[in-house]
Amino acid sequence: MAEIVIRNLRKEFGAFTAVQGSTFTIRDGEFFMLLGPSGCGKTTTLRMIAGLELPTSGQILIDGEDVSQKPASQRDIAMVFQMFALYPHMNVRKNIAYPLVSQGVPRAEVQRKVAEVARILRIDHLLDKGVGGLSGGDRQRVALGRAIVRNPKAFMMDEPLGALDAEFREIMAEELRALHDRMHATTVYVTHDQLEAMQMGDKIVVMNHGVVEQFGTPQDIYDHPATLFVADFIGSPAMNFLRFEGSAPAGAATVTLGDTPIALPELREAASGSLVLGVRPEHVALSDSAPLRARIEAVEYLGTTQIVTLSTPQGTIKARTPSTLPARPGDLTGLVLNASRLSLFDATTGRAFRTAANAGVNHG
């Protein structure tokens, strides 16, 4: 198992820059998520780590060794593809054994390892079947088997759950995480599903337009998004943005929204101009006496909670409140924002201002 260091990694396809200057470190044994919308460069980054694309510039170090320009076959990495890419002309056993055969492992050893992997993944009864007739989940297990049989330095997974039915996806996500906890293998996992990333990852890199927007634990990224893009991309419903003009010096702990002062974590730098106040729906509470006024537009009932859509002079806001709380469309109410959980962004650059709350968080 290995630590993977990415330094100023860049990839250009002709005039198009797919990845521009990514830098991050994947620690040994980490379950690492590359998250972003399609076309953001996450798959290209993964393919560069795997050796399927060579970087235009920058470095990839696996266990301290610079492999940037080495072919995939020399990197000792395993990969699980979105469409599984099982060899269609081989049965399950041969598929799993194939990486071992390339290394010239003796036949008895191959048989033993294949059997062991099949047992771990509970596909021993399928070994002599062709891969064509397998269900999505079983194909996924065979693909995993082919990846883990060799004990590689790291696993690359390119949206491995993307091709599965919702039902299987849930099961396989759990199995993947359980397998990882058992093997402690460094895993790089590409997904565009923020829930999947939050649920499974130890660390997340959020990418957009080839740029690393933020890099950190799921909690850091959720609670302290470094950019407007991250704030909007992570969480459902997305973070509310209250746009306003204003200014606040470093050390200030309030901003003025319209006429209403709003408390927020102490600013570590001065903010002025077009600003955006970010607040997650669960950090908005309704209180009839609060000075920040709003009108209830709609209520979606979700069981234990409800999503209340409100209109304010600064735009529409969604609040997640307990469903026991009465809320009727048309009613006027006041909003209380949880001061310690607010983020303040610069509307032009999209960057979050440094505050007492997000001081330790990595920016992209």
Binding site: G51, L52, P71, S73, A78, M79, P88, S102, Q103
Partner: protein, 313 residues
């Protein structure tokens, strides 16, 4: 009232369709049946009028195809010892004796060498080129592909004279190598285009999986891409072989003695006192066989190849 079904054709239309197919089959096969039956006729039977449909089969045509015969004086003929073999007897029955072997066997072998040789070469080069065009960022890829296709736009025979002169200069006239290269040059554009289509259909992930599993690019190509492309390769091979096997014009122009293939040879089989139709028919029958066998062997691939991409796997 019976329900109208859109999926199951009516009995009458099934019958009509069957009849139509049967009729078409008969029309298509009639010339073949005629050639094959003529090859088993004797000389007089083959030109009798009205034509004989029922006749006594004879191997005369095949014996004549493989031998040269000569007439000898009546007294010498009478003095000959009784024929030793069945083919001796067939020739004697025509009032002649065997003078030697004909060149048909040799011409046939030339066809085999040149036909299969050029097919192999077209497929070998075509697969590599198609793979490269399909997988790599080749500079000027579209222009190169168009250039390759454009070699097919002119009828090959239009460049017969330049090729004739060029081959004479290069010493390739009437050689096996020359004919193999010529047929390969004609077939390669077809092979590259067809195979590129087939290889495009094979997901790259298979090779990428193999690359990551520790195989080199070439190993991945050989062990993963080639088995997947077998269908395309087989159908392309059939097309290439059929062209090279049947080609007549260049064979007439460029070969005479050493490397002559069967197509220009068969019509020159002359009997005594006119064309020896049974021998010509026998030659044509034997000439049909290899392509027929090759096609039957690969027909499963061929059918899949033709409908490739139309049906999701």
């Amino acid at each position: 009232m019976s329900a109208y079904s859109v999926t199951e054709p009516s009995k009458a239309s099934k019958w009509a369709a069957g009849l139509l197919v049967a009729l078409y089959t008969i029309i298509t096969l009639l010339p073949l049946v005629w050639i094959i039956s003529t090859s088993f006729k004797t000389g007089p039977d083959s030109i009798s009028y009205p034509p004989k449909v029922v006749f006594e089969p004879s191997l005369e045509g095949y014996v004549n195809l493989f031998t040269t015969r000569t007439r000898i004086a009546a007294e010498d003929f009478a003095a000959l010892p009784p024929p030793e073999t069945w083919y001796d007897r067939i020739v004697r029955d025509q009032g002649m004796v065997i003078a030697g072997q004909s060149r048909f066997g040799e011409r046939f072998m030339n066809s085999v060498i040149i036909g299969f040789g050029s097919t192999f070469l077209s497929i070998f080069l075509g697969t590599l080129a198609a793979y490269a065009f399909s997988r790599f960022r080749v500079p000027l890829k579209d222009d190169l592909l168009f250039f390759i296709l454009s070699t097919r736009m002119m009828p090959p025979i239009a460049v017969a004279i330049p090729i004739y002169l060029m081959y004479r200069e290069l010493g390739l006239s009437d050689t096996h190598l020359g004919m193999i290269l010529l047929y390969t040059a004609v077939n390669i554009s077809l092979a590259v285009w067809l195979l590129k289509g087939f290889i495009d259909e094979i997901p790259r992930e298979y090779e990428e999986a193999a690359l990551i599993d520790g195989y080199t690019r070439f190993q991945a190509f050989r062990k993963v891409v080639l088995p997947q492309a077998a269908t395309g390769i087989a159908s392309t091979a059939i097309f290439c072989l059929i062209f090279a096997w049947n080609e007549y014009a260049f064979a007439v122009l460029l070969t005479s003695g050493n490397a002559q293939t069967a197509p220009p040879f068969i019509p020159t089989i002359i009997g005594v006192g006119g064309q020896d139709w049974p021998a010509v028919a026998a030659g044509a029958t034997l000439f049909l066989l290899p392509v027929m066998i090759f096609t039957i062997l690969l027909r499963k691939h061929l059918l899949r190849g033709i409908t490739f991409g139309a049906v999701r796997k």
